[in-house]
Symmetry: C2
Subunit: 185 residues, 2 copies
């Protein structure tokens, strides 16, 4: 307690506090997204019997249309490889994806959508879109959407480009290939 500042909000660490505007923005952002995620989860569970993580995996596969390796598939969705194996196991058991070993690199596993997986994705996408429109986009103007997209794209790219955490001990490597920049969408 050597601060001579009149911080009053716990910042006694040489860390300048966030402005009230930033704090309000921060909490509004996290709470709004939390509510959004919760509703989206419910819609996906009810209509498709899958979780949001699983939906994201299906979406990644649907977007690519060529099989992806597990490592590629993990991108931005899952933070541990065993977690992805677990989810892929569920999706495979449900008949939504197939896993096969890559001819090029025998270590890799190629993941592809089955017809059922593609059909499920197409079936639940409209409801998914409707929920996000109802909850997220309805109260926003076109300009809001543009600005929000611009902001969050920058923030996301900023976070993706961040150096690995300095606090990370030597053996830490949870994310996929930190040196490899994100591939084109």
């Amino acid at each position: 307690m050597t601060s001579t500042r009149t911080a009053g909000d716990g910042s006694d660490d040489g860390v300048p506090p966030l402005h009230p505007e930033q704090l309000q923005t921060y909490f509004a952002l996290l709470e709004a997204v939390s509510l959004l995620q919760h509703h989206v989860e419910q819609q996906l569970r009810t209509e498709g019997g899958i979780s949001y993580v699983q939906f994201q995996l299906l979406a990644n596969l649907a977007r690519s249309e060529t099989p992806l390796t597990m490592t590629q598939l993990a991108d931005g969705v899952v933070y541990s490889r065993s977690g992805l194996t677990y989810q892929a196991g569920l999706l495979e058991k449900a008949g939504l994806i197939t896993r096969s070993s890559s001819p090029g690199d025998e270590r890799a596993t190629l993941v592809a959508l089955t017809d059922a997986g593609a059909a499920l994705f197409r079936r639940i996408l409209p409801g998914h879109i409707e929920v996000s429109r109802l909850l997220l986009f309805n109260p926003l103007s076109d300009d809001d959407v543009r600005h929000l997209g611009d902001i969050m794209t920058r923030v996301r790219d900023h976070m993706r480009a961040l150096p690995p955490r300095s606090a990370a001990p030597r053996k830490r490597r949870p994310r996929s290939t930190p040196d490899t920049p994100a591939q084109a969408d």
Copy 2:
């Protein structure tokens, strides 16, 4: 609007598709927040040994300074009462909060921060703020922050006003639609 067969993005349901700009916004938002949450969780766990949910509960109590009932405390943080009881149990066992029955209404439980809880909150808040600044605010201009705060406040209030969350009707059947994909109703 009966099938036009030219949708190409799965919207064959009478649901107008989101504009590409909206889709991009939507995915950027969710991914950015997911990354942010992950980093924040790590900071809180490392520096304070608590989860983000627990941090939010402590923050709510710190902001109010008068004890809150469990119901008040749940606001926006937790989606089931048993979940809050679980988290409150953890926080109480850790000596960070106290629970006592309310003198005014014997059914209610009053939750208050202990000195240790308040101290922990003050101790980890700077690091929390630093992480959010580094990840979220650094790539943003003041105008971005203002606009983002305005947008997310509106979105949050919109969602809060929409469905009575805790009004889970009894007719709600278990949401597992085993392996048979749900049929659209």
